[in-house]
C-alpha cells in the first residue's frame, strides 16, 4: 500500500511521523500518526517486531491532537512501544450535513460501519481501523501483530472498548479515558447511531460497549480513567453503566475516578503514562 509521508520529527530518540494514504473503507485519503520508539531501528535490523498500541481520538479531533498534546512519546520510547493514531472520520465526502455539527459527520466517525445512505459509502471507521489500518501498519512498520493494544478518549474510548470486546484476540489490551460506554443510552450515541445505522436497535448493540460486555466479556483487565469534573460525565459518559454490566459479566476492569480532572488533554497527559504501562505489562505476558 502507498503511504505518503506528511512529516517526520525526531522525538524522544524515536520518530513521530504523519502519513497519508488512500482508504477504500473511508472512500478517500486518510491521515495517521505513527510514533516509532528508538528501539524500532535496531528491531528492524534484527528482524524483530515491537508491540503496537492504537489510539482512537474523540469528537472534533484529527490524528494530531493526541500526537502533540498527550506526551505519550516519552513513555513509548522508554517501553519500546509503537503508537498509531488515525483520524476520527473520513474527510471531504461532500455529503450534505457532513460539516454541520461537531458530534456527527466529519470528526465524528464513531468507529462503526454506517449502514445508512449516503454515509455508508465512506463512514466505515470500524472496518478502517480493524482491517485497513491494521494491514497497512503491519506492512509498513515493524509491529508485532500478536502484541496489540487499543486505547482512546471519549468517542475514541467507545471505539477502544468496542473494538477490544469484538476482537480480543487481536487487540489484547484495552484502556480508555472518559469513554462513551453506553451510546444507546446517551444523546451523542442516539444522534450518531440514528444517523449512521438508522433506527434498528439490534444494529446499535454491536457498537455499544455496555451491551457487548454482557455478551462477550474479555479476559483482559480494562483500565478506565474518568475525571470527576468532566462536564460530560453524567449526561454522555456514565461509566457506571459499563461498570455494572462488566461486574455482572465477570469482565475484569479498573475504573478510576480522578478528582478535579475534566475532559481535556491536560487530563489525558496526566495519566497517559499509567495507560502505556498497563498495555506494556499486558502485552509482555
Amino acid at each position: 500500500m502507498e503511504l505518503e509521508t506528511v512529516s517526520k520529527n525526531r522525538c524522544f530518540g524515536g520518530t513521530q511521523g504523519v502519513y497519508r494514504h488512500d482508504s477504500k473503507a473511508c472512500n478517500g485519503p486518510m491521515k495517521l500518526a505513527v510514533y516509532l520508539p528508538p528501539q524500532a531501528e535496531q528491531a528492524e535490523r534484527d528482524g524483530r517486531r515491537l508491540p503496537v498500541l492504537t489510539w482512537l481520538s474523540g469528537l472534533t479531533c484529527t490524528e494530531e491532537n493526541f500526537t502533540v498534546k498527550a506526551g505519550a512519546q516519552r513513555v513509548a520510547a522508554e517501553l519500546g512501544l509503537i503508537v498509531v493514531a488515525p483520524d476520527t472520520s473520513p474527510r471531504g465526502q461532500n455529503i450534505p450535513g457532513e460539516d454541520e455539527s461537531y458530534d456527527f459527520g466529519s470528526g465524528a466517525g464513531f468507529y462503526l460501519d454506517a449502514t445508512r445512505e449516503p454515509w455508508s459509502k465512506a463512514y466505515n471507521m470500524y472496518s478502517y481501523v480493524t482491517r485497513e489500518l491494521q494491514a497497512l501498519v503491519a506492512e509498513r512498520f515493524p509491529v508485532d501483530t500478536a502484541r496489540q493494544g487499543i486505547m482512546g478518549h471519549s468517542m475514541g474510548g467507545h471505539g477502544a472498548l468496542t473494538i477490544h470486546l469484538k476482537n480480543p484476540g487481536t487487540y489484547r489490551s484495552c484502556s480508555a479515558f472518559s469513554p462513551i460506554v453506553a451510546p444507546s443510552q446517551v444523546p451523542w450515541g442516539h444522534k450518531a447511531f440514528g444517523g449512521y445505522l438508522g433506527e434498528d436497535r439490534a444494529a446499535w448493540r454491536q457498537y455499544d460497549a455496555t451491551e457487548l460486555v454482557r455478551e462477550r466479556p474479555s479476559k483482559a483487565t480494562i483500565l478506565i480513567d474518568q475525571g470527576e469534573a468532566d462536564n460530560f460525565l453524567s449526561e454522555q459518559l456514565r461509566p457506571e453503566l459499563f461498570a455494572e454490566a462488566a461486574r455482572r459479566a465477570g469482565q475484569p476492569f479498573e475504573l478510576r475516578l480522578q478528582p478535579g480532572y475534566d475532559h481535556s488533554y491536560f487530563f489525558i497527559a496526566s495519566f497517559i503514562e499509567d495507560h502505556l504501562r498497563h498495555h506494556a505489562a499486558a502485552l509482555k505476558g
Copy 2:
C-alpha cells in the same frame, strides 16, 4: 491588578490556568498561562513561596503552544515549580503591517522595547516581561521572587538569554532551545531590530545576547539545546557565535547539539525535563 480567568484545568495534580489582563506596556489585553504545581496549595496555606520559571515562546506562538505541547507540567509538578508563559507580542493594535509577516509584528515581539513609532506605543515586551508580568505574577501567585529562572525557544531563547544577562540577580537561572543568539548578525534580527529600533546599531547591542555576554557575563551556567537538523540553524540561529563570545568572556554555559532534532515542539518536549531540572538545581542553591 485585575486578572481574568480564561480557563483552568487540573493537570498532574496541579492547575494549568490561562488568564487575561490589561497591560500598560503592551497597550491592551494580554494573555498568559500559569502552571501551579500540586505543592502550591499547601505552600499558600503555609505562607511559603515556590520557585518560578518564565518561558518565552518563539515566532508565531501564543501562550498556548508551550502549555499544550511541551509536557513541562509533569516535571514542574515533581519539582514544585511554577511556570509562567506569556504571549509573544501585543495583539490587535491596528498598526499597518502588524499582521503581514510571521517574523514581525503580531507574534514577533522579540522581547524588546520598540523605539520607533508607531510600534513603540505597544511593542514593549521587554518591559512587559521584566516589570509588568513580574509584578503581576508576584502579586497573584505564591512565587518566590528570589528564586526565578527564564527559558525560551528560538525568538524566546533570544529573550531568555538577553533578559537573564541584563537581569542576572532577578532571573538567576537561564536555558534556551534553539535560540536566536546574535540577532544583529542574522536576517530575523535585522528585520525586527530595524523595524522596532531603527538603524541605530548601538540600540541593537542591548538586545543581542552575543554582544551582551561580552560585556556582562553572568555567573549562572546557561544551558542551550540545539537540534542539528534544525532548518534555521545555519542562517538564523548560529549558536557558535554565542559559544565563542561566551567562552572568551568566561560565561559558564553548556551547548548541546542534538543529532536529528529539528525546530519543533517535539524537540522541546524531548528535552524539557533536563531544562527544568537545570533550573531547579540552580535555584535550590
